[in-house]
Symmetry: C2
């Protein structure tokens, strides 16, 4: 700060990884094994390497800290207005949010020997830095995303009953949806294909399984649509 021409700001990346299981949205947190915040849960992330693209830094950290690879990753926001967000140093955080299907992967304590765990949204503890704020921002983002892009492919199993999608939307938006109207609307986009399989487990009448029409899905992600859910 006193020396000329030497900027002393560190660049970190952090990720809010969402998974959907048992009708709740969860976020991935990892436990710090070292440092000032030892034993505290934090968002996965860390400093970017000098020769590393930002996005690769996120992917590396997710793999090192939790052993996962995500299939959807989007830049969220860069937090750097609070110059003391990290009390040790000036650090700005380029934050990402990611979507994964938790049944496809096992969390494993990574090479950094950190623990990793899914926390349902309403059980997220107080976190160090501005990590709670980052999570809050990412929830807003995913909610508003629903209005103009399809979501689900990255979070659900390959084949799923219609009610999974319906529950996913209800969970993210945190409100009730009319089952019949929702189904009509989704089907009218041509987003889903029926399979000839039926769900097995559980009470009640077995449900047809659907899968996403991948090319239609990609098209709608790119072009967007307007989809207000009442």
């Amino acid at each position: 700060m006193t020396q000329r021409n030497i900027q002393n700001i560190k660049v970190a990346v952090d990720a809010v990884v969402f998974a959907y299981k048992e009708k709740t949205l969860s976020v991935l947190l990892v436990k710090q094994k070292f440092g000032v915040n030892k034993d505290q849960w934090v968002l996965p992330g860390g400093l970017v390497k000098d020769d590393e693209p930002l996005k690769e830094a996120v992917e590396r950290e997710l793999f090192e800290e939790a052993g996962i690879k995500v299939n959807y990753l989007e830049q969220l926001f860069t937090f750097g207005d609070d110059i003391n967000r990290d009390p040790r140093n000036r650090v700005i955080s380029v934050s990402y949010f990611a979507l994964v299907n938790p049944t496809k992967m096992k969390l494993k304590s990574g090479t950094d020997a950190k623990d990793a765990e899914w926390f349902p949204l309403d059980e997220i503890p107080q976190l160090p830095f501005d990590h709670n704020k980052i999570i809050h921002t990412s929830i807003k983002r995913i909610q508003s995303k629903l209005a103009y892009q399809p979501i689900g492919f990255e979070l659900l199993n390959k084949e799923f009953p219609f009610s999974d999608l319906e529950n996913l939307y209800q969970t993210i938006l945190n409100k009730e949806i009319d089952r019949r109207n929702f189904r009509k609307k989704i089907l009218s986009f041509g987003l889903l294909n029926e399979t000839d399989k039926m769900s097995q487990k559980g009470a009640g009448r077995p449900a047809k399984l659907f899968k996403f029409n991948q090319s239609k899905y990609n098209k709608l992600v790119k072009e967007g649509f307007l989809f207000e859910i009442k």
Copy 2:
């Protein structure tokens, strides 16, 4: 890169400032007076100071380089995947986009003795770094913004004829709009208040002047709406 624990990445901010004049959208560029890119036009911006919030860094650079203060500033994207986007050093750019009414301010060559000028979108030259890409991203952003938030307050005069708003939308979206339907829709939001003034200059019948209903405007910016323009 070889030394441990010393990250060597610089953090810059850049701004895409939009102004609307004479039925075209323009972007502010400044001329570099020193350095490798001497005499080239670039986006206003520069390195962030160690004890400076990101947003303040943008505001400072805009004032130093062009003598302006903007009334709308939004973070756009952080460019840092191309590790050679600046050939001299690893620099990541936290980019912002801003909206201003150009009649309210005079550009002035700032304390850095740079020139500053408005460039209509279709006259923007090849720029160094990834500045053309940043501008392209910001145009996409402003276009998609129109579908869920009102825009105009920051770009138009305090009191303006309805046709100004109509032209603004047509310019940003780059397509024709049905005058009658557009007027009905905008008025139905309660976004505008009539004044009792009339436009003076120009051919044709004089037009009523409108102004934005500030509180309604802020409310719609916050809450958003769905507004598809055919």
